[in-house]
């Protein structure tokens, strides 16, 4: 079969804020969930200034490492874990998700899969936010192994009192490693 040429992307622009966010979009589980963790961070530009009109999407495995194939993200019932959410940044570029720790899938180092959209960003960016907890799994990860130490660090969350912190630097010092998958 002949491959088709993919349609080009375009920036999400400045006006997605009344269209893409939805009620409890960043609460993959309610705050009251006994295993709830926070994943949060700041999206910054080349001057280190927070990007107030970015949107992050989170896609992750369940705590047992299984891939979730469950609808209901857009109408959260508080009980169904869909593995997917969305967080708009605030005026300081800060985003936050309430979620569960993803488990290891197929024995691989667990990570949050993250998509970044913003005004001024002409196409979406993909990255991974690895959990910092299992040093052995991180050491054996092929993607992390293919990076220099300073760049590798941009893909690993920091643990904090409520879960994890993961900053996204679009440009400049500590620029996050963004990914290109085959065929892109």
């Amino acid at each position: 079969m002949t491959d088709l040429v993919p349609t080009p992307g375009q920036t999400v622009g400045p006006f997605f804020g009344y269209a893409l966010p939805f009620d409890r979009d960043n609460e993959l589980v309610p705050l009251s969930h006994p295993s709830a963790v926070r994943l949060h961070g700041r999206v910054t530009d080349g001057h280190g200034v927070g990007v107030p009109d970015a949107l992050l999407e989170l896609w992750q495995a369940a705590p047992d490492g299984s891939v979730v194939q469950q609808d209901g993200s857009l109408r959260r019932d508080g009980w169904t874990f869909t593995g997917w959410g969305r967080s708009s940044t605030d005026a300081d570029g800060h985003y936050v998700f309430t979620t569960l720790r993803p488990g290891a899938t197929d024995g691989r180092a667990p990570f949050f899969a993250v998509t970044v959209f913003a005004r001024g960003l002409l196409n979406r960016l993909f990255t991974r936010a690895y959990l910092p907890d299992d040093a052995e799994a991180l050491a054996g990860d092929p993607l992390l192994a293919s990076l220099d130490a300073d760049r590798r660090a941009t893909l690993v969350c920091r643990g904090d009192e409520h879960g994890y912190a993961f900053d996204v630097a679009l440009q400049g010092d500590g620029e996050t490693v963004f990914l290109r998958y085959p065929g892109q």
Binding site: D3, T7, Q10, F15, V49, T82, L122, F126, P182
Partner: protein, 257 residues
């Protein structure tokens, strides 16, 4: 091209921006390479100056959850959300249109049962977003937001109003061609994309640094819908057709190999 460009709003003229666009286009055509996606580093679009990565995107073989996409279903989307003309108790102003097409993966297979989200300006070129201060009238009967799920053959269909062009602050007298924003999911995480659909023959195409950030004319053409009289409805609305191709599904490639 290392001229210092300011990201301050309205610092340049259209002629200056058009010259930058032309220079980049000439260099692209001389390169002999084929680009199919927008550049991330595209100075004529001033907001991109501080927001594009300076390092190359890093190759990654998709694994585990990246080979799967989130699921959406009937509980997520009401069928009424595909009609943007019935959302607020009255008829919106403007040219009623249908926009329909198919979502396909890179191998040409339909992407079925997946979420499509759209948002757009009203007929006067105004978004309801509070950041849009363009002094065109808001339409009390039009939010400009729609959602649907693709059918078994990948078909999506929206009934809406043709959006107007609108001014923005990239440079002096900057105007965006009329467009509808589209948000798309595939069967793999890696296929996620957001883009903009345009209307055929728009006189603003050549002037617009967002559209021109796709340096290849054939690639730009892939964002332009086609007028389709078979989609047009008798004494009701005109019709446009636009098909969307996502990148290949790595999971199905692996399952087939």
């Amino acid at each position: 091209m290392t001229t210092t460009v300011s990201s301050d709003s309205a610092a340049s003229t259209q002629a200056e921006v058009s010259r930058e666009i032309a220079d980049i286009s000439a260099a692209y055509q001389a390169s002999g390479l084929e680009e199919t996606q927008p550049r991330l580093d595209y100075a004529p679009y001033r907001s991109s100056l501080l927001r594009h990565p300076t390092k190359d995107l890093h190759h990654a073989d998709p694994e585990t959850i990246e080979l799967w996409a989130p699921c959406f279903g009937q509980r997520d989307v009401s069928p009424l959300e595909a009609d943007l003309t019935i959302q607020d108790g009255g008829e919106p102003l403007g040219e009623r249109i249908v926009v329909t097409g198919r979502v396909l993966d890179g191998q040409g297979r339909p992407v079925a049962g997946q979420l499509v989200e759209i948002w757009q300006a009203n007929a006067g070129g105004r978004y309801i977003h509070k950041r849009d201060q363009h002094p065109a009238p808001l339409d009390p009967h039009f939010t400009g937001v729609g959602r649907c799920l693709t059918g078994p053959d990948g078909t999506y269909r929206f009934q809406t109003i043709k959006p107007g062009p609108y001014p923005w602050k990239n440079h002096h007298n900057a105007w965006r061609p009329a467009h509808i924003h589209f948000s798309l999911f595939g069967t793999d995480f890696t296929q996620r994309m957001v883009t903009q659909m345009y209307f055929p023959g728009d006189p603003l195409f050549a002037l617009d640094p967002i559209y021109q950030a796709i340096t290849d004319q054939r690639a730009r053409d892939r964002l332009v819908a086609t007028y389709d009289h078979d989609v047009t409805q008798h004494e009701w609305s005109t019709g446009y057709r636009w098909d969307i191709v996502l990148t290949g599904s790595q999971r199905t490639l692996m399952e087939e190999s």
